[in-house]
């Protein structure tokens, strides 16, 4: 099949950037979007031109590296999918495809389709952990956890940190990402000791990183490759309020 690729090219964070069109032919519907870009890059490199820069790694939908907006939707048209798991069969022969970076003040463009998502790491550093030094942990079965509780925690913990939620949000809010981590740990007994501090500090860091506010419209959850539920945002709000009224813990 044939496609016209309209790709955002930007030399660096301070460059203005622009869309550049590339005709792509001899494509197979079984190719992923990234394999199509591999092919384009091979052609560009062979012609002595600089390849299109994009983040990717595992290509199994779990590492959270791939990050682009395809025809206006983070990770493209397929529901519950990452860019690496989006195949050309989702598009029509001859179609125009627009590929752009995740756009948010907190995610500056590094180059082309690659953005800097280190703000997410700093939110985790602000409290997305249980302070348990290596060694001296009690036997795993000494702390019984109801099956449903573990399942709920796992639902939230499944977040891959890709940032599609931010890219989809008109306010570039990081609420779904932050909510997933806060909720994962607040749901489990291990997370109780630092529960209040964690919610407060992670939300404060999120604001400091210049992510926008949440208006509960759910664009984040709609594009989330792991279908992290909007309910966790409600839980984050609750956790945050709780952290301000709770006397202890």
């Amino acid at each position: 099949m044939k496609l016209t690729l309209n790709i955002w090219r930007q030399q660096g964070p301070n460059d203005t950037g622009q869309i550049v069109s590339y005709p792509a032919k001899d494509l197979s519907p079984d190719m992923s979007i990234l394999e199509m870009l591999d092919k384009l890059n091979e052609e560009l490199i062979a012609a002595g031109e600089e390849p299109v820069v994009f983040d990717h790694d595992c290509r199994e939908g779990i590492c959270g590296s791939c990050s682009m907006v395809i025809n206006g939707v983070p990770h493209g048209p397929q529901k519950a999918s990452t860019t690496c798991q989006t195949f050309l069969r989702s598009f029509q022969d001859g179609e125009n495809i627009y590929l752009e970076p995740f756009r948010a003040t907190a995610f500056p463009v590094v180059r082309d389709l690659m953005v800097d998502r280190s703000a997410f790491d700093r939110i985790i550093q602000a409290g997305g952990y249980v302070s348990a030094n290596t060694g001296g942990a009690a036997d795993g079965n000494a702390l019984p956890i109801a099956q449903q509780t573990a399942e709920d925690a796992m639902d939230a913990a499944a977040c891959i940190g890709c940032g599609a939620c931010v890219a989809a949000c008109k306010n570039a809010s990081a609420m779904l990402f932050t909510a997933a981590k806060v909720s994962h740990l607040a749901t489990l007994p291990q997370g109780q000791v630092e529960r209040s501090e964690r919610a407060r500090n992670m939300v404060a860091q999120m604001d400091e990183e210049m992510f926008g506010s949440c208006t509960n419209q759910g664009a984040c959850s709609a594009v989330c490759p792991k279908e992290i539920s909007l309910d966790w945002i409600a839980k984050l709000n609750r956790e945050h309020i709780r952290s301000r009224v709770a006397v202890s813990t």
């Binding site: 197979s28 519907p29 079984d30 190719m31 394999e35 591999d38 092919k39 890059n41 091979e42 490199i45 062979a46 002595g48 031109e49 600089e50 390849p51 820069v53 983040d55 790694d57 595992c58 290509r59 199994e60 779990i62 590492c63 959270g64 590296s65 999918s81 069969r89 180059r111 690659m114 800097d116 998502r117 280190s118 997410f120 790491d121 985790i124 550093q125 952990y129 249980v130 348990a132 030094n133 290596t134 060694g135 942990a137 009690a138 795993g140 079965n141 019984p144 956890i145 109801a146 099956q147 509780t149 399942e151 925690a153 796992m154 913990a157 499944a158 940190g161 994962h184 489990l188 291990q190």
Partner: protein, 642 residues
């Protein structure tokens, strides 16, 4: 290279197997808290092994510098591990024990690993689960709140802990959260999008690394008291593998070129159940859990050039070759055996699918017997993944699978302390060679990565640091300056090509050559042929590789080319190793050494050893040093799965 370095002393402590680790821990020297603050440790790689080691060392009080070429430590490929992590907890009361996990691992590795290391691995396995639970890893639970287990290949007990099909992700996020906490505390300085380009050796000790900032192209020196490599495996030498795209051998290989021994590089595991390549454009292969073989039946058409769809091929024209050859294990024959059998039928021309490199994995009998709903409950997520990628419905038509390079048992040689023959260089996780022998069992990679990082290295590295005095070595020293200069020269050489071919085209060509000559089966003739062709390909690479863009900037082609250049040299070491190991064992199958039934034939007389290779110059054959394996408690036996 002095001869002394290659006196490979495994430093296995004395005493009975069960007491070695405890005794050793009691005897190791300690570094006082005050002194730890003044000692710096470099950790390269932030996967399970690297992140857990960096966090644990920082908690102890060391200054830690953690390096990753990813944008975040959480992206490391440990994240893709699906099935689970083994531990000898015996929660199921089914007779598991440290001894049994140890024995299963030694046997699974076809008796080519060190008893003392593997026993210690089984011993610390239980602490890993406790540590991960304490961090908030959401392991699956039973209704009563107890930890749940599943069964895995190569074991008769149920000892695998899991978080749905995302165990690697959850364990990595646990280690990453501990790492993040230490970054916030200022104990760890992290360097993201930074690639290690060389190891700096000063007076015979590993004292630092040279890195390239992948965004700015800047070359930098980093000085430390010890260097830890946790840089993963090298399956991408085959180009197509289940590894992530950026996984590479560069850090380990450059340490090898500085004098570290490379051990058993030819021990590479080819996983039998992966989704076949769909065409030339294929960039990587996706693994599907081996558990599918519990209910799926594997077959190919009996006729060459069969063109009918699977459903129209009558029963008597199908060859259920695993059931035919291995009646008692059938479709559950071990990984290496299943993989080879699939290759054989495809080589005969009976493969299926568009590329004819595939076999059917058919669930129609199971669906008939148990109903579609039961099968959906058991494998729903895997069926969804398959249909998502292939656009075929496995409930209607049989899946197509083909083996893919997956895990590499070989790696840098380390002693009992996980230190290489180069003092001060420690190697952990998949990057070392130590625990899996010639074949790794399922759910053991996560166990080893975390055992090394949480519970072994943090002790043993202290013993080393306690014995080395603190000094004022700086990055201005002549050794660092020289190594930096060599790094720049290497990059210049890469950029001097004529610009006719892309780095990936060379990588793909090398991969095809390697999977043929040094993949599922190896022969003397094939290996000699590969050894003749690889130098020519390398020559062609340096002459004609195309690298547009500047060096002092983000440059994808340059990154790829650096990694491909190392694979082009490393592939030769692999072939030398496969050639020198004139026996079949585990995943290493030499066609000259098989039984009448086509089974691997070990030669314990001559090859019950570790082959450790010494670098002697590019293009010159590496020197072989063998470390004899003293199997004192386990009896050598033939693996029989008939």
């Amino acid at each position: 290279m002095s001869e002394i370095r290659f006196e490979l002393d495994a430093r296995i402590p004395d005493g009975p197997l069960e007491e070695k680790w405890d005794r050793h821990r009691a005897e190791m020297r300690l570094v006082s808290p005050k002194n730890k603050r003044n000692r710096r440790i470099i950790v390269v790689g932030t996967g399970l092994a690297g992140a857990s080691a960096a966090a644990s060392l920082a908690e102890q009080g060391y200054q830690v510098e953690a390096f990753t070429f990813h944008d975040s430590p959480r992206r490391a490929h440990s994240i893709a591990a699906q099935g689970g992590i083994n531990a000898a907890k015996n929660y199921q009361n089914d007779g598991d024990s440290v001894w049994r996990l140890f024995h299963d691992t030694i046997k699974g590795g076809d008796f080519r690993s060190r008893e003392a290391n593997v026993y210690r691995l089984a011993q610390v396995s239980t602490s890993i689960i406790d540590q991960c639970v304490a961090q908030g890893v959401p392991f699956a639970r039973e209704y009563g709140g107890q930890l749940a287990n599943r069964s895995f290949g190569g074991a008769q007990v149920s000892r695998t802990f899991y978080c749905r099909g995302q165990t690697g992700q959850q364990l990595l996020l646990g280690a990453y959260s501990s790492l993040s906490r230490q970054i916030a505390n200022g104990q760890i300085r992290q360097h993201t999008r930074t690639e290690m380009h060389d190891l700096v050796v000063v007076e015979g000790r590993a004292r630092g690394i040279i890195t390239r900032d992948l965004v700015t192209g800047e070359i930098n020196s980093h000085v430390a008291d010890a260097v830890v490599l946790a840089t993963g495996g090298y399956s991408n030498v085959y180009y197509l593998s289940t590894n992530a795209k950026a996984s590479n051998v560069t850090a380990a290989f450059r340490a090898y070129k500085r004098g570290a021994a490379m051990a058993n590089p030819c021990f590479t595991q080819i996983h039998p159940t992966c989704i076949p390549a769909s065409g030339e454009h294929q960039s990587k292969l996706t693994l599907m859990s081996e558990s599918l073989r519990n209910d799926g039946r594997i077959w190919v058409p009996k006729n060459l050039d069969e063109s009918r769809p699977a459903g129209e091929i009558p029963e008597d024209e199908r060859d259920y070759y695993l059931e035919r050859k291995y009646p008692s294990f059938g479709n559950l024959a071990p990984r290496d055996i299943s993989s080879r059998a699939a290759k054989e039928v495809c080589d005969e021309g009976r493969g299926v699918g568009p590329t004819k490199r595939g076999v059917f994995l058919d669930f129609s009998d199971a669906i008939e017997q148990f109903g579609k709903e039961t099968i959906r409950k058991r494998y729903g997520n895997l069926f969804d993944m398959y249909s998502h990628i292939t656009n075929e419905d496995p409930y209607q038509t049989p899946m197509r699978i083909y083996p893919a390079p997956h895990y590499t048992m070989g790696g840098l040689w380390v002693d009992y302390n996980l230190m290489s023959n180069l003092p001060g260089l420690f190697v952990i996780g998949e990057a070392n060679f130590s625990d899996h022998g010639a074949n790794r069992l399922g759910a053991s990679a996560l166990m080893q990565g975390l055992a090394d990082g949480y519970f072994i290295l943090p002790y043993t590295i202290g013993d080393y640091i306690a014995q080395t005095p603190r000094d004022q070595l700086s990055a201005d020293s002549v050794e660092f300056k020289e190594t930096e200069t060599e790094t720049r020269a290497r990059l210049s050489r890469l950029q001097s090509g004529s610009g006719k071919r892309t780095p990936t085209s060379f990588h793909r060509e090398l991969g095809e050559l390697m999977i043929e000559a040094c993949g599922m089966s190896r022969s003397e003739a094939g290996l000699l042929d590969a050894l003749a062709r690889i130098p020519a390909l390398r020559e062609e690479f340096y002459q004609h590789v195309s690298l547009p863009g500047e060096r002092a900037n983000l440059n994808l082609a340059l990154e790829q080319a650096g990694r491909v250049a190392d694979f082009l040299e490393f592939a030769e070491v692999m072939c030398h190793d496969a050639l020198a190991r004139d026996e079949s064992c585990g995943a290493h199958f030499r066609v000259e050494h098989q039984t009448d039934q086509g089974e691997a034939e070990r030669n314990d007389e001559d090859y019950c050893n570790v082959s450790a290779w010494e670098f002697t110059g590019v293009g010159s054959p590496p020197a072989l040093h063998a470390e004899a394996l003293e199997l004192e408690t386990v009896e050598l036996a033939v693996r029989n799965y008939k």
